[in-house]
């Protein structure tokens, strides 16, 4: 069983790496976008595992994007290094803000993160000398000169890094810390969990991933602009993907991103104006029927079947 999993995993990974060789430019572009959203969906879920709902995704995504672009324009730093810089900036900002706001819980924390996203955008709009104001900034060229194969691999690499981080969260003591905080913070504390430290850590790490992904996005498309870069699309779509696939796991958001990303693209071609409405409705229907998403429903089913087979 375990071997089978590793074989399947290796096959999927090989297929993902070789994907550009059996796809055209269009499919590669679609895949790049899906990988970007996949990382955002997964990083959002990683914090949700502690019970904290963040609406800060688009904020830290945009922060990383701006950091990457501005560093390159002002210092001529190579593009790949500026992407890392985007992650570092998001980490530092989230760490400091986390210390200030992670005394809040639930709805209050969620609202503050939503405000942060907006504040970042307002700042970007109102510092024209640095950020280019409402017009934003253009890079002289996109990363790898627009080579879609290399760009795909870059997006894949960043998505895989997120998967790796997510698995580290799931397989180490972090899993026990976050799950116990989500289930009952009082019990977690009384069992020795330093709740505040783990929440700040989770917030900083997931925001760093979002900043890294933002930096990647900005380098791939070669520009930042307040309304586009801090768009709520980078907040709502990843959340929908994670919820559809199933929260509190690595598989769920990955699967959700693949399904909803592909579906969104398909609908866009056939319903150029109504596609968002249609996949919004799909998400609602799925959530009503499967509150733990597709992965959660499959697990419950497998558990029931296994019980019937083994137990009686």
């Amino acid at each position: 069983m375990r071997h089978l999993r590793y074989v399947a995993l290796a096959a999927a990974l090989t297929a993902a790496i070789l994907f550009p060789f059996y796809s055209g430019l269009y499919l590669r572009q679609v895949a790049i976008i899906i990988l970007i959203y996949m990382g955002l969906a997964l990083s959002w879920d990683m914090l949700l595992r502690s019970g904290q709902l963040s609406f800060g995704i688009s904020g830290f995504f945009g922060l990383g994007a701006y950091a990457a672009v501005l560093l390159q324009l002002n210092t001529g730093t190579p593009p790949l290094v500026t992407i890392l810089f985007g992650g570092v900036v998001a980490f530092v900002v989230a760490f400091l803000l986390g210390i200030a706001v992670l005394r809040l819980r639930g709805m209050y924390f969620a609202i503050v993160t939503l405000a942060l996203s907006t504040i970042f955008m307002v700042v970007a709009k109102n510092l024209p000398s640095l950020t280019g104001g409402v017009a934003g900034k253009m890079l002289p060229s996109v990363v790898f000169g627009g080579d879609s194969v290399k760009t795909y691999w870059l997006a894949l690499g960043v998505a895989l890094l997120t998967v790796l981080a997510s698995e580290l969260f799931q397989r180490t003591r972090v899993f026990y810390a976050l799950t116990s905080i989500r289930d009952n913070e009082l019990v977690a504390k009384s069992s020795g969990v330093d709740v505040f430290r783990y929440l700040v850590l989770a917030f900083a790490v997931t925001s760093a991933l979002q900043g890294l992904i933002g930096g990647t996005y900005a380098q791939i498309y070669g520009f930042v602009a307040p309304e586009e870069t801090f768009s709520f699309t980078f907040l709502l779509l990843p959340m929908a993907m994670a919820l559809l696939g199933g929260v509190y796991s690595t598989e769920g958001p990955v699967l959700g991103a693949l399904l909803l990303g592909a579906l969104g693209e398909y609908l866009k071609l056939h319903l150029p104006y109504g596609h968002r409405l249609v996949y919004g409705v799909i998400v609602v229907i799925v959530m009503l029927g499967m509150p733990r998403g597709i992965v959660g429903a499959v697990r419950t089913l497998a558990w029931r079947v296994g019980r019937k087979g083994g137990g009686r």
Partner: protein, 244 residues
Amino acid sequence: MSRNGERIVLETQDLAKNFGGLVALNGVNFSLRQGEILGLIGPNGAGKTTFINVVSGVYMPSRGRVIFQGKDVTFLPAHVKCRLGIARTFQLIHPLTDLNALQNIMVGAIFGRGLGLREAQREALAVADFLGLRDPGRPVSELTALEVKKLEIARALVTRPTVLFLDEAMAGLNIDETEEVMGTVRRIREEGVALCVVEHVMHVISKLTERVVVLDGGRVIAEGPYEEVANDERVIKAYLGEEG
């Protein structure tokens, strides 16, 4: 080491806690000796659970001190107190439902004692075995009432506490189950742990404890062996009201 040694491991001096205008604790002086089983009783609203919450670091006191093994630990947060050796269970049971029983216990071992995952699992299995919690790989939803109580105790016990507060660990259990948990409490004491047991069922208190502290209105109104305390006029008044 003598079981009923006189060494005080935990002490509170003039401990008080207000919630706004409500005085929940009003100057509690309390001591717990090494290896003893102490009963903490009192009518509803007397402040028993608040007392545990303040001592274990869930709430900070409004006044007074908590001394643990000679050190002032009054304002240390709950997770630090847990690591030092002050463990507690909860009156309303709170299993972590997204973890199975074994993983629930592991949380205490990992964070209360700083063990790695593999070691924590070994310790958690040992504690489950000690408490007679069979097949701990089960989801929490499949445990019986008795097993959930055991799970609560296990999660506290796995941190290797010096003192352990049991907040109504036997409430809601039938007579046989209560007997079993009482046996468990005695075995925990044999390991050198000092226990403070909050319980409403008086025959449990009378059979299990050597000394009883009675709280009423946030104050200690009586202290001593159960037989003495049970006949104390103030205690009878507190339970039955002024009219008697």
